[in-house]
Structure formats: C-alpha cells, structure tokens
C-alpha cells in the first residue's frame, strides 16, 4: 500500500525514463544550437563589423566635441518648431481616436453587427497599421506639400490602425454581463452604448489614447526628417549645415519633450486606473 503512495519519479530509473531524459537533453541542445544559428545569420545579414566602430570612434568624438557647448542663443528659434512637434502629435492622435473608435466597434467580435463589417473594419485597421507612419508622411507630403499638416495626417492614419486594434481588443475583453442586464431593462441600443459600454471601457480607452499620444510625440520628431515640419525638420537642417552646437541644443529639447510626455502620460494613466 505504501508503495502506491510513493511519488512516481522517485522509483528506480527504468529504461523508458533514461531514454526520455536523453531525448529531453538532445532537444534542449538542438534548441540552443538553433538560437545560436539565428543570431549568427543576423550578424552576417547586417554585415556586423565591430572593428569599424572602434576605428571610427574618432569621427564620433570629433562631432561630439564640435557640439559642445550647446548654442542656447538659438533657443527662441526652437520654440515654434517645438510647439509644432507637440501639436502634430495631438492632431494625429485626435484624428486617430475619432476614426478608430467606430472602427473598433465594428471590429470587435462581441459588438459587430455583421461578419462583413467585422472583416472590413479589421482590414482597414490592419492596413493603416502595416504601412509605417514614415511612408504615410511621404505620401501626404506629396499630396499636400511640406509642413506640419502632412505629419499630422500621417500620424492620424497610422494611429487609426494602432488605436483601432487596441480599442477593439479592449471592447472584446469587456465584461458583457452589465451590458446584457441593460438590454434586459428594455434600453435601446444607443442607450446601452452610452450608459453601459462607454462608462465600462472609457478609462481603458483614455489610457490607450494617452500612451498613443506619447508614442506620436516621439514619431513626430522623426517625421520632420521627411519634410513634415517640427523640430525634426530643424534638426535635419542643422545637421546638413554642420551647425553641431545647434544640434546639441535641439537634442536636449527633444530629450525634455520625450521624457516630459512620457512622465505626464504615465501619471495620467495611473490616475485613470
């Protein structure tokens, strides 16, 4: 009777046990080799040459030396592009929210009115997300010319994809019991939406939107490099003109904007939780 109660693995090793263990070790070894092979092919494909980094360090040091000290006399001229950068992100995020919310309702399994609407909405969300914001910016620069407007449009369209997906997932994970209870009281569809669905998911949607705004501020810096205005455009101009002291000032401003946006967004999201 005692033998029946003994844990199975503690008995004498059988032939089956030892074969199983050997197979497990072989599998671990094969998995480790596979990881090494994947990393090795990545190094080959990117033509990694660490020695070039060491020999070229003088060039980098030279640029850093020429960037010091930052040219703070240029500060007033950076204020307008800084505001543009933040506003491109705000504009893009606002467009993204307005379009993504109805799309997300169609793209959520528990809310969609039909299969066609579901696949249609998922298709739009997938496409706008798959095309990078930089490509959208190039397209809009071609359409409406240089400046912050194409940058805002690019971030808006790309945000539709990112926000649409996250909004739809939030709606799908929502507790449906209060919604069904409201339907049972005889409330109309629009009332169920405004009195049940919106209060339930609003904090999550606001949290996601704030996170997106934080991401968009970072993206709007880069979009300036393709002519979409803001501080990124000023940074590119300063680099092309070898004005490295202005470059270092702009990098400090970018650092402050990114860190500030990140902290404010995180604090607000924490309050909403």
């Amino acid at each position: 009777m005692k033998a029946d109660l003994a844990p199975r693995g503690l008995g004498r090793p059988t032939m089956t046990n030892s074969w199983g263990r050997a197979l497990a070790i072989a599998l671990y070894f094969a998995a480790a080799l596979l990881v090494v092979a994947i990393v090795a092919q990545a190094l080959i494909v990117v033509e990694a040459r660490p020695q070039d980094l060491i020999t070229g360090i003088h060039g980098m040091a030279d640029i850093i030396r020429r960037s010091m000290p930052p040219d703070f006399s240029r500060f007033p001229s950076t204020l307008w592009p800084t505001l543009q950068t933040v506003d491109i992100a705000l504009f893009g995020t606002a467009i993204g929210i307005v379009i993504a919310l109805p799309l997300a309702l169609l793209a959520a399994v528990n809310m969609t009115p039909s299969r066609y609407a579901y696949y249609g909405a998922r298709g739009i969300i997938g496409f706008t997300r798959a095309v990078p914001d930089l490509v959208w910016a190039l397209l809009f620069v071609t359409a409406v010319g240089l400046g912050p407007f194409p940058g805002g449009l690019a971030l808006g369209v790309h945000s539709v994809g990112m926000l649409g997906r996250l909004f739809a997932e939030t709606i799908e994970q929502m507790d449906m019991a209060p919604i069904q209870a409201l339907e049972l009281t005889g409330a109309r569809r629009v009332q169920v939406f405004t009195h049940g669905i919106i209060p339930t998911i609003l904090p999550s949607l606001l949290g996601i939107s704030l996170y997106r705004l934080d991401e968009n501020i970072r993206s709007s810096l880069v979009l300036g490099f393709v002519g979409a205005g803001g501080i990124g455009f000023q940074l590119l101009t300063a680099m092309n003109l070898f004005q490295y002291q202005e470059v270092s000032l702009l990098l400090i401003i970018i650092f402050v904007i990114v860190l500030g946006a990140e902290r404010i967004s995180a604090a607000l999201r924490e309050r909403l939780a």
Partner: protein
C-alpha cells in the same frame, strides 16, 4: 399575469432543454423553481424573458404573447418584465444611483438619454427605490465598491425602477453568504406582497424555498415534476428532484 403554455426549446444539436412547460403566475405571487443542475431552470427564465426564442409554445405577459414578438415590439413588451441574475451585473464605474436609474431607460427616447444623461425625475425616483431596498445612504457610491449583497439589492432596485409586473430572478442568492441570502429573499417576498409583482425565482437552496415561497415548481430534465403550494409540498418530492436520472 404570466402564463406559459406548452413552452419547449430544442437546441440545434437536437437536445430538448424544455418540454411542454405550463405555468401561470398571478400578481403578487412568489414562486420558486427548484431542480438539479442542467434541469432547465435557467433555460425556462431565458425563454420567458425571450433572450432565447422558444421552439414552441406561448409566453403571455398580460394580453401580449412575447413568443411571437421580435425587435422593437419585443423590447417594448418586455418593459413589464424585469430580470435579476446571480451576479448583480452593475456598471461598476457608475454611481449606485445612476445604475438604478438606468432601469428606466426603456421608457425614454430623448437625445439626453441617448447621450448618456438620465432624467432628473427618474434620478429622484431611483432614490426612492434605493430606500425600498435599504440602501438610500449609498446612492452616490461607485457601484464597483459594493459588497455582493449590496450589489444584488441595487440590481433589485434597478428592476423596480423598470416598474415591472413580473420579476424573474435567476439564482439571485447563489453567490451570497447565508445572511445576505436571507435578506434578499425577504426583500423579494416583500416586493411580491406589497408591490403586487409576480416573482419567479430559480433557487438551489431548498430551505429558502420552504421559508419564503408561496408556491414551489419542481423541474427535472426540462419537464415539470410538480407545481404545488408550499403547504402541500413533501420533502420526498423535493428529494426525488435531485436523484440521478436513472433513479
């Protein structure tokens, strides 16, 4: 008040969940439905509330047959029928008062209510319903902070705000401790007597049925096993309800 005639539900896989169910419930009557797991108790309530369409039979609420209605007509007819479930299903981030007042939404078709607002008069009436369930002082609390028993009382207040003639309760005390369960049963009994609401309550607790029901309906494999006034109900009949199918 509520008449169910020959109600049957066959699932698409062919299983008969409910067979020829007959039931009449008068205003002010408090009936409890007992039965084992999977016997068809919840299915019966869902068919009556028309959250599922029965395969056959009629569900008369006053002089309206719910079983033939759909869409807007069904929504309007169903206003006289409220349902509470095992879990209170409140909107957790809204106040207790707002949750109660949402029970009145079906009667209003204004832009204000479509935009998420609630009529001032209904909010005032909701305070009265909260007082009826003994929670007047919690009106401004967020619903997500309530205990299970309090939340269930709020869901009953929401059902009252609907001004129903029939109240369906699907295991309303299943997740509550014994004291809170007794409170809820006393409340339902009082509402049936004072408000003249016909209450049909599914329970698993046989003793609560003995203590509070006017009538007990036994259901087994989707059919009525008995439908008796509490005074005529034998312990043996209830015991047989829970025996395995082969017994």
């Amino acid at each position: 008040m509520l008449r169910v005639r020959g109600l049957s539900l066959r699932y698409p896989n062919g299983t008969l969940a409910l067979t020829d169910f007959e039931l009449t419930l008068a205003a002010g009557e408090f009936a409890v439905v007992l039965g084992g797991n999977g016997s068809g108790k919840t299915t019966l309530l869902r068919c009556i509330a028309r959250t599922v369409k029965p395969s056959a039979g009629e569900v008369w609420l006053g002089d309206i047959d719910l079983s033939v209605l759909d869409g807007e007509k069904l929504r309007r007819a169903r206003l006289a029928l409220a349902m509470i479930c095992q879990h209170a299903s409140l909107v957790r981030r809204r106040s207790v008062l707002a949750n109660v007042a949402t029970g009145t939404l079906g009667r209003h078709r204004t832009l204000w209510t479509a935009l998420g607002g609630l009529p001032a008069a209904e909010l005032e009436a909701a305070r009265g319903h909260l007082a009826e369930v003994g929670l007047a002082d919690l009106a401004e609390r967020r619903a997500g902070t309530l205990s299970g028993g309090q939340a269930q009382r709020v869901s009953i207040a929401r059902a009252l705000a609907q001004r129903p003639r029939v109240l369906l309760a699907d295991e309303p005390v299943a997740s509550l401790d014994p004291e809170a369960a007794e409170d809820i049963m006393r409340l339902l009994q009082r509402l049936a007597r004072t408000e003249r609401i016909a209450v049909l309550c599914v329970l698993h607790q046989v003793e609560l049925a003995y203590a509070y029901a006017d009538r007990v309906i036994g259901i087994r494999a989707g059919r009525i096993a008995f439908d008796l006034p509490k005074s005529q109900l034998s312990r043996e009949a209830v015991h047989r309800l829970y025996l395995p199918a082969a017994a």
